[in-house]
């Protein structure tokens, strides 16, 4: 039988000093989620340059001077964009790993280790993010 637990109002973020691992996991999941949906809208907006490229001069596509190619390659040449991409990867990896953890919690698997699995999500996110830095920063300078 499941036990009820009065978590208090987590939404009162002023209580952050009292938060346990599970509450931090919940808050991180929420904030990373907000960032990811914000990014999805931005992503589609940038990719919308494909509409202009497809309607434009086919020769420009061949010469790689169409608006889609120049927009993406222009953005990718910026150091700050690469840093933001690494940040996006960190956010997405944490959201995925913690999401898997939430699925386990939902299924009632390993509940007693839910705090440890949160720390594991953080550590794994850190490792994967650091390991991806060389690939993401390839060919760009400040």
């Amino acid at each position: 039988m499941s036990q009820s637990y009065n978590r208090g109002l987590i939404e009162d973020f002023g209580r952050w000093k009292e938060f346990s691992a599970g509450m931090w996991a919940w808050i991180f999941h929420k904030f990373t989620g907000w960032m990811l949906i914000g990014y999805l809208f931005t992503h589609i907006a940038v990719l919308s340059t494909a509409i202009g490229a497809a309607a434009g001069d086919p020769a420009a596509i061949q010469q790689e001077t169409d608006v889609y190619t120049t927009t993406i390659q222009g953005l990718e040449s910026l150091f700050i964009i690469r840093v933001l991409e690494v940040g996006l990867l960190a956010v997405a990896v944490f959201h995925i790993l913690n999401g898997l953890r939430l699925l386990m919690v939902d299924l009632g698997i390993g509940l007693s280790a839910q705090d440890k699995s949160f720390y594991a999500s953080l550590v794994l996110t850190g490792i994967i993010t650091i390991a991806s830095v060389p690939t993401f920063m390839d060919g760009v300078t400040i």
Binding site: S2, Q3, Y5, R7, I10, E11, S20, G22, M23, A25, W26, K30, G33, W34, L36, I37, L40, F41, I44, L47, S48, A50, I51, A53, A54, A55, I61, Q62, E64, D66, Y68, T69, I72, Q73, E76, S77, E85, L89, A92, I96, G99, L100, L102, L103, V105, D106, G108, L111, Q114, S132, T135, F136, D138, G139, V140
Partner: protein, 121 residues
């Protein structure tokens, strides 16, 4: 003690769809990241290269499904987070309507973009 924190009321359709889209997104998002950052470098993306991928009907359908699942998962998550924050009554209905419209607009725009990328316009 079973401590559980979730923005979703368990057992509802929203809860179930959030889990189903999550499982799908984990796989396709991982594929997407590898495809466009490790197999093909993002800085080397060209319209011709994008078109070569998008012309493949299987890839096109996967990307469109990816967009629909991502938009639903994200906006359903935002909606539940706001409801959890104490949103109710008219405000709740307005937020649901605004998020639904934003989702429909995002999916419509995304499909238009995918069709343009595939060269089917």
């Amino acid at each position: 003690m079973a401590e559980q924190y979730s923005s979703f009321s368990r057992g509802g359709t929203g809860w179930l769809l959030q889990r189903i889209t999550a499982a799908f997104l984990i796989v396709v998002l991982a594929f997407h990241f590898f495809q466009l950052h490790f197999v093909n470098h993002a800085a080397d993306v060209t319209f011709a290269g994008t078109q070569a991928r998008m012309e493949n009907v299987g890839y096109f359908l996967t990307m469109v499904l990816f967009l629909i699942a991502g938009a639903f998962h994200g906006l359903n998550g935002v909606y539940n987070a706001l409801v959890n924050q104490g949103l109710e009554g008219t405000q709740k209905k307005v937020v649901l309507a605004v998020l639904s419209l934003a989702g429909i607009a995002l999916i419509a725009q995304g499909i238009w973009v995918a069709v343009a990328m595939a060269g089917w316009t």
